[in-house]
């Protein structure tokens, strides 16, 4: 342990060494960084303290993967919200509202409406059937080795893509906010997340999420209230002022909206054709139900009752948060766009990119101190989300691939824990490496792709294994693989990758979101090949459904909380 502390100290000293700052020393914001850095250090100190405490309470695999199953519904609701409200959604959605207006709300709604469906059809079942990963549920009836392998692949694809997007976003954000060079930022984030996960496991990760969720909700509430206070809480005046402000804005999107006399309070061009709209809707709604780091959270509560309560609280927090981002977006239109101080008029963007809308609004509304606070919150947000992802990835490697697929479930706890810690380290190093490699790439598509894979590979097999008696190993394998492969191929051939990343002239696949096709294919694949499966193994798997359903409904035989 002490070696790691000295490593971290060396890293911190290195990161904050004056030479590292030289590149951005002349930035106008550099004077305000002190608050941000101080608050960030407080956050890091507190979370490392928690990690140290959590490490002494992490004795079994159940502690490591599921925090001993002792998290309450309310705590888990906050932690789920913490996992879900990434910096991408805080900065990205408020920026989308800022630049495009109403379209931002369409995304928010899509991100939220998956939650009730998860509650009604999955949350309690997950809790009653699973232990550490969602593969536990699918392999309740189906053949262990192939199903664990497929689920682990789905998990790792989702996790790595999501991680790269978060890492690149983190590097760019921290460079802008703190003036810290990109590589240092990525390494700092990576090192901290490895520490949280490898030493503190799910206990530390959960508390990091909870603290971050409280900070983010508090910060966003203050920004939104300050923006509303600007028009003395008169909503009519609020939107009217925003509408006036875009006329004097130098933002390219605003100029275009004025030139086209487009209504920023109505759906714009972001969701253009019906196929894309429905496809996006599917990916947002069902992607949530297939995100491994979110699914894992359901195993941290002691029983089905707490599982359902956690979704209720999470939905409330997340919904409230999205309403705030909507206010923040238009608040930025009103208070940031007309102020040349925040605009890069030459590029037609905000200083530091359009994703800075919420950050600049914090400054416009609350000055340097508040900017520092929000910057630190944004950093904390990234750290929390990447930790959750790393833990989910590490669990897929150690619990699904190593302990179950390779060793047939016959591994002692210490070995499995050691493997998961090394997996966390390996995933962290890979994320740091890829984060640096992708610095100059357009990674915006990666979160979308992660959601599409979650919706088309993880969700169908998980959902069918819970609700459909006839699902067999063969059907799940073919359907899940079809979903995974078609999603990746369609995204690579679509405009977002084929044209925007690879530089080709025209896209080979016309739609941005593949979910409507890939999800349908996955479900069809599962259905047809399960129906055609008449093997004795399939019969045995169908026969097990009854026992599964009873545990699912009643919780009899489900794993409870461990006693400490």
């Amino acid at each position: 342990m002490s070696r790691l502390w000295s490593f971290l100290l060396a890293l911190a000293v290195g990161a904050w060494h004056p030479a590292a700052w030289a590149a951005d020393a002349a930035k106008p914001e550099s004077a305000l960084n002190i608050t941000a850095i101080a608050m960030f250090f407080v956050f890091v100190a507190v979370t490392l303290g928690i990690t140290y405490w959590a490490a002494s309470h992490t004795k079994t695999t159940k502690d490591f993967y599921a925090a001993g199953g002792g998290i309450t519904g309310f705590q888990n609701g906050l932690a789920i919200a913490g996992d879900y409200m990434s910096a991408a959604s805080f900065l990205g959605i408020s920026a989308m509202v800022f630049a495009k207006g109403y379209d931002g709300l369409i995304y928010s709604i899509g991100f939220l409406v998956g939650w009730p469906v998860i509650l009604f059809l999955m949350a309690e079942q997950l809790r009653n059937l699973g232990r550490y990963t969602f593969a536990d549920i699918v392999s309740f009836r189906l053949s262990r080795v192939p199903i664990r392998t497929l689920s682990a692949m789905g998990t790792l694809f989702t996790v790595i893509l999501y991680l790269i997007a978060q890492m690149v976003g983190a590097g760019q954000l921290i460079r802008t906010l703190f003036g810290l060079p990109y590589e240092y930022a990525v390494v700092t984030v990576g090192a901290l997340m490895i520490l949280y996960v490898a030493f503190g496991g799910m206990i530390a990760t959960t508390w990091v999420q909870i603290i971050k969720a409280v900070l983010l909700l508090t910060g966003a509430t203050f920004i939104a209230l300050s923006a509303l206070n600007h028009t003395h809480f008169d909503l009519e005046l609020f939107f009217r002022t925003a509408l006036e402000s875009i006329k004097s804005s130098s933002l390219a999107d605003h100029k275009k909206a004025v030139a086209d006399s487009r209504d920023i309070f109505a759906p714009g061009g972001l969701v253009s054709d019906p196929v894309s709209a429905i496809s996006l809707g599917l990916a947002l709604m069902f992607g949530t139900a297939g995100l491994p780091h979110i699914l894992m959270r359901f195993f941290t509560v002691p029983n089905a009752k707490e599982a359902r309560k956690s979704v209720f609280y999470a939905t409330g927090f997340i919904g409230y948060f999205y309403i705030l981002t909507f206010i923040i977006g238009f608040g930025a239109v009103m208070m940031v766009a007309p102020n040349p101080q925040y605009m890069d008029a030459a590029k037609g963007t905000l200083m530091g990119g359009n994703n800075m809308a919420a950050i600049h609004l914090a400054h416009a509304a609350g000055g340097d101190l508040f900017l520092g606070f929000i910057s630190a919150v944004a950093f904390a947000t990234i750290l929390a989300v990447v930790s959750g992802l790393t833990l989910a990835g590490a669990s897929a490697v150690s619990h699904d691939l190593f302990a179950n697929a390779m060793r047939g479930g016959k591994v002692d706890e210490r070995t499995e824990m050691r493997v998961s810690k090394f997996s966390a380290l390996a995933i962290g190093v890979i994320a740091i490496y890829l984060g640096i490699q992708f610095e100059k790439q357009n990674v915006a598509f990666m979160v979308g792709l992660a959601f599409a894979i979650a919706a088309s590979a993880n969700f169908p097999i998980l959902f069918l294994s819970i609700h459909w008696k006839n699902l067999t190993t063969r059907g799940a394998l073919i359907g899940g693989t079809l979903g995974l492969v078609t999603t990746v191929v369609m995204v690579v051939l679509s405009k977002t990758v084929w044209v925007d990343v690879l530089g080709n002239k025209t896209a080979l696949f016309p739609y941005k979101d593949p979910a409507i096709f890939s999800m349908t294919l996955a479900f069809l694949g599962c259905w047809i090949f399960s129906k055609l499966d008449n093997s004795p193994q399939a019969a045995a798997e169908r026969a097990l459904f009854e026992a599964q359903e009873i545990r699912c409904e009643s919780g009899i035989g489900a794993a409870g909380a461990s006693q400490h």
């Binding site: 709604i109 009730p116 939107f239 309070f265 709209a277 809707g281 709604m285 909507f326 009873i550 009643s554």
Partner: protein, 107 residues
Amino acid sequence: MNNDPVDAKLVQRIKANPKYQELVAKRSGFAWFLSMIMLIIYYAFILVVAFIPKSLGEKIAPDSVISIGIPIGVLIIIAAFILTGIYVYRANSTFDELTRQIKEETK
């Protein structure tokens, strides 16, 4: 591991309990009913966005700049929260009570 075989006799006993049948029917019926409500609300919204986006730009009052799309969007978010609340309320009372009785009777 996870696949501890659930005792076959226990399975039959629970399955034969009419309260278990009642629980499964009530819960899954209610869960699917609420899911359908959410799906209908959401996809109705998405289809309006896809086919008649202008309609969401109508103003809430002749002298207002606020479009009806804004309260509709906020209401969908609130509806999602309320639906989860309804489910949790009913599950905490009715379904949990049934489950408790089933467990009691199969001991």
